[in-house]
Every structure is written in C-alpha cells, then in structure tokens.
Symmetry: C2
Subunit: 339 residues, 2 copies
C-alpha cells in the first residue's frame, strides 16, 4: 500500500526544499533545468498529485458547488442535477448533493454544514416546508456572508439572488388554452396545495385561461392535493362524479393517475377525455396512452443554474449586484392523451 506522496516527502527524498519542488512542478524558470527535470521525473514516478484540501485552504476556493434539493428520486430533480453536474464538470467544479426531504430543518442544517467552507456556492430549490413557513433567514444569511446562491424552480421573491425558472403561469395558461381551442369546456385541474410556489402559479394560469375564454371557474373541478401518496381516491372521485372534458394536471403523477381512474370507469382517453400533464418525464412517455405534457427541461435548468453560479464565482467578486432571473422555455409535447 503506497500512500499518496507530498511535496515534503519529495523534497526530503531529493534533498531540496519544498519550494524548489513546488516551483519545479510548475515549470518555474527560477529553477535550473537539471533540478526541474529531476523533480518532475521523481514526481511522475511516484504519481504526485497536489492535495485538493490544501489547495482549497490556500486559495479559499473549493471548486465545489453545493446543491440542495427536496428529493432525488424524482425525474425532474434528477435531470436538473444531471445538468448541473455536466456543466460543473466542464468547468472543473465538483458537486455536493444534499437532500432536504421537503423538510425545513434538514434544509437549514445541510446548508449551514456546507456553508462552512466546504463549497463555493449554492444551487437550491426550496423544500415544501420552507415554502409553507416562508422562513428564509438561513438563505439570506448565507448570501450576506458573501456566498453566491442560485435558486431554481421553487423560488421566492423574498430572496434576492440569481434564479432559474420556467414561466409556470404562462405554460399552464397555454396548455389550458390549447384544450379550450380544441373544444373542451369542462376542464378539471389537479394541483398541489397553494403554498407550493409552482403549483400556485400553474393554478393561476389555469384560472386565467378559463377567464380569458369566458368560462366559469368551477371550484368542484379544482382538486388541491396535499398528500401525494394518497391521491388515487380523490382523483377517482373527481373524475367519476363530474362529466369532465379534460384534465390539466400540474405534474405527471396526477396526470397518469387521472388516466388510470378514467380507464377504470371506462372513460376513453383521449376520445372522451383529454389529459395534459406537466413536467416531461418518464411516466408521460411510457404511460398508455402516452401523455401530452408541458415540457420542463431540467437539464437546461441545471446547466443554466450552474452557469450563472460559476460566472458569479469567477467574476471579480460582486462587481455586479444585479441579480438575474432566467426563464427557460417550455412547450407542449403532444402525445396520445389529447386529441
């Protein structure tokens, strides 16, 4: 077992100073060709690689990005991470991932943990609980300490920082508008509780589309689901008890569950009922019928977020206090669940 070799060991072995070794390896002209080559050969032989931790301490830069997300077993968040990781890697950064599990406390603990030197900046999406509590002191504090933060998807106006989002409101509006244009009148909405920012925005888009087209907003057709694990019965009731033309769901899980409920009651999709979901994930693609969705390009969001963060990190320190909000384009991916 040969342990990693350090500058000190090389120096001792070759009977020169640590400085000489360091300079030699950096091809400094200060060192004679003789010693330079000798040191380099020795270093290569022993496979010397500088210690990242020591470099981090010296440079006050870790070249690491911290990512805090609510969960990872979730197609959208997984794609975002993928985007972040790739862009980070291209730029010589590594990625530390922490899960908040939708919990405020875990979000706080994880952020404080990482903020103490482990990383250079954050990319994060708020947990449900944090959105419910509207308590963001842990994030503003970190920003105040001079650490850049980029938020994505689940963001809030209460924090000033760079953000990457989609236009949830508009995307929902367009989706519902499409349904209306195709003749649907009785359109149900399956959404989350209001404190989830994106859920609220999509709900607003739905309502706006109805109003724009002089359709009544019927609260019986709006289902707000708190506990995602027990949504089947609620959705089944909604579909069974109302003669619905179409369903707009704010995520794919609700969409596929609606389709399953319809099929259970012999309602044909899309002939008798159209369904549009949100987030173009794996379920929508492989469900039967496959589901028309609003695409939400997680890869792009991740890449954009990483790019913004790295640019801040490498700009000359806070030269520009103007924070930006980038809006990622969405579009409707038409599949079999709409006619």
């Amino acid at each position: 077992m040969k342990r990693k070799v350090t500058l000190k060991q090389i120096a001792k072995e070759l009977d020169v100073s640590i400085s000489t070794v360091s300079k030699s390896l950096k091809d400094s002209t200060e060192i004679s060709e003789d010693t330079r080559l000798k040191v380099q050969a020795f270093a290569k032989l022993y496979n010397y690689k500088p210690n990242n931790i020591a470099l981090s301490l010296k440079n006050k830069k870790t070249k690491t990005i911290g990512v805090i997300i609510p969960e990872i077993v979730h197609h959208f968040f997984a794609t975002v991470i993928s985007g972040i990781e790739h862009l980070a890697n291209e730029n010589g950064y590594n990625v530390m991932v922490c899960l908040s599990d939708e919990s405020f406390d875990k979000e706080v603990i994880n952020m404080e943990m990482l903020a103490n030197g482990s990383i250079d900046g954050f990319i994060l999406s708020l947990s449900k609980e944090t959105q419910l509590k509207r308590d963001f002191h842990h994030i503003t504090e970190i920003i105040n300490q001079g650490m850049p933060v980029v938020m994505f998807d689940r963001v809030t106006n209460d924090i000033l920082c760079d953000k990457v989002i989609i236009d949830d409101n508009l995307a929902a509006f367009n989706a519902v508008q499409t349904l209306i244009e195709r003749g649907m009148k009785k359109i149900a909405l399956i959404t989350t509780v209001d404190y989830v920012s994106v859920g609220k925005l999509r709900t607003d888009g739905y309502i706006k589309a109805l109003k724009t087209n002089d359709l009544k907003v019927n609260n019986e057709l709006i289902l707000k689901i708190e506990d995602i694990d027990n949504c089947e019965n609620l959705i089944e009731d909604l579909i069974k008890n109302n003669k619905i033309d179409a369903v707009f769901a704010v995520n794919e899980l609700f969409a596929v569950t609606a389709i399953k409920a319809a099929s259970k009651h012999n309602i044909k999709v899309p002939e008798e009922m159209s369904v549009i979901g949100f987030t173009d994930g794996i379920i929508s693609k492989y469900a039967s019928p496959s589901i028309t969705t609003v695409s939400q390009n997680g890869i792009k969001m991740g890449e954009k977020a990483a790019k913004m963060l790295i640019e801040r990190l490498e700009s000359d320190e806070w030269d520009d206090e103007q924070f930006k909000t980038e809006v990622i384009e969405t579009h409707l991916v038409e599949r079999e669940s709409t006619k």
Copy 2:
C-alpha cells in the same frame, strides 16, 4: 456583508491567543470560566463555525463520500443515491456525486479528481465502457493508496473490495420459474449485451430456469439490445414474429416497450402474453397494465453500501482485510402484467 469569522479574528478582538479561543470553545478546563464565557459569548454573537476545510486538512478526514455512477436520470441510480445520502447524513458525512456517463475516461478522471484528498472513500458502480474494456487499474490503484471502495450493482470479480449486489442470477431464475409454473412455455428474453455484468447474470438465470424445466433455449427468443434508445423496432419484431407466451425483460424500459408493442399488435397483456420486468421503478408502477417486476431495492443498496464504507472508514484502519459482499434480497412484485 459580514464575512465568516475565524479563530484568529476572535483572538485579536478579545486580545487573547488563538489557542485560548479554540480551547474556550471546546470547554477546556484549562481556561478560566471568565475568559471561557467571554469567548463563547463573542463567538456566538458572530456566529462562529469552524472551517471545514481547515479541519479536513488537520484531521486528514473530509467526512465526505464520493459516489461515481453511470447516470443519475435513471430511477434505480437515483434511489441508490437517496439511500447513500440519508445514511451518510445520519453519520455526519456529505456526498459528492460524479457521473461517468457510461464512459471509461470520465470515470477515471472523476475518480482521480476526487481521490486527491477531496473524499474519504468511494461508492461506485461501473460504467458500461469500463465493463467492456475490463480495465480497472484506476480503481485498484486508489484502493492500493489506502482509500476504501465499495462497489454496487455493476461489480467485477477483478477488484477486491466490499460489494453490494442483488443475486441477479437467482432473481431472474425465480422470475422465469414463476412464468413456467403458470404454464408459459414460449418465454422470450429481452436483455442487454453480455458485457454488462448484471445483464449477463440475468440472462444466465433465464437460461438456467428453462433448462431446469427441460425447455429448449431458443436463440430466436433471446434479444440482446446494445443501443437502448432504439429498441422499439427490435422488440416489436420479436413479438410480432413469434407467438410468445411471456416476456422476461432485464429492465423496466424493455418491459414497457414490449407491452406497447404487444398492444400495437392487439396482443392482450396478460391474457395472451405475460410480462415480467426487472427493477421496481416508476414505469412499472404507472404503466398500463402495471408491470410485474423483480424488485431491486435501490434505497437499501445505497444504505448498505454507505454503511459498509463508513464502517471501514471508522474502524481502526484496515484491521480486517476480509472484504464482504452483501446480497440484497429481491422479490417478485406482482401487478397486472402477469396472470
């Protein structure tokens, strides 16, 4: 913007030495109560938190686990990460995630990057390309440097280290055995190319089950897919051209694609054809019909891998050179695609 405060700054502010500050914060009895309280109050006021990087350098421990996986936009790997992250977090560890994108070179680069001090140990699953090349020197080298490695799922006998796997062979055998017991005779296999370790093992299990039951192994019923993105046509041909009783697929993607192909040709699942998949993921759950699968508990695998790694890290340094291979239990999750 108030930057993070250090021991040195506190020391200067209170006109004591750095040592005194450090000891005070650690409640050392060496320090008088007076100064101790004074220092603690000041530290609290300025929200002092020790710098992780400095601690890592001093302790030669980063309290960070490196994870290398082929991709993350993949339900199984996402669940594994989830398991790793939770167990790591419980034990005060953080997780750095790197994606190899199924590429040998990226796997090597990422590992070398992290091995230079950034992490205490690795958890990894081999990329396809690495499995194809059978070149593992980058991993053995890291192990030789004294860094613990735990491999999961896609492992190899060529490396001596801790491992976490499922019994792919047995699980496949049992799945096919179940099909046979229910009267199926013409059972197709949709699998990967042989160099993917788990694909090969599952293929062997399929063959073994047939042979055990004196059924002929018909190569026309075995489809080995290289390019996962273009599997539809191949699978459709397989199903169209053979009157098949059942399909055993080595992942859920193949399984759902088989079902779609069947439905396209008006073959009813499960009435005319049963389907069993592998990896109990989100597709299987939400497909129509939902798919019977061999469960492969990624959370448990991740937790187990993290546990083994942390135990090695915190044991008294290589006290035990015996590496273990943990086998995670699987079982058949029965759904609608089998009768």
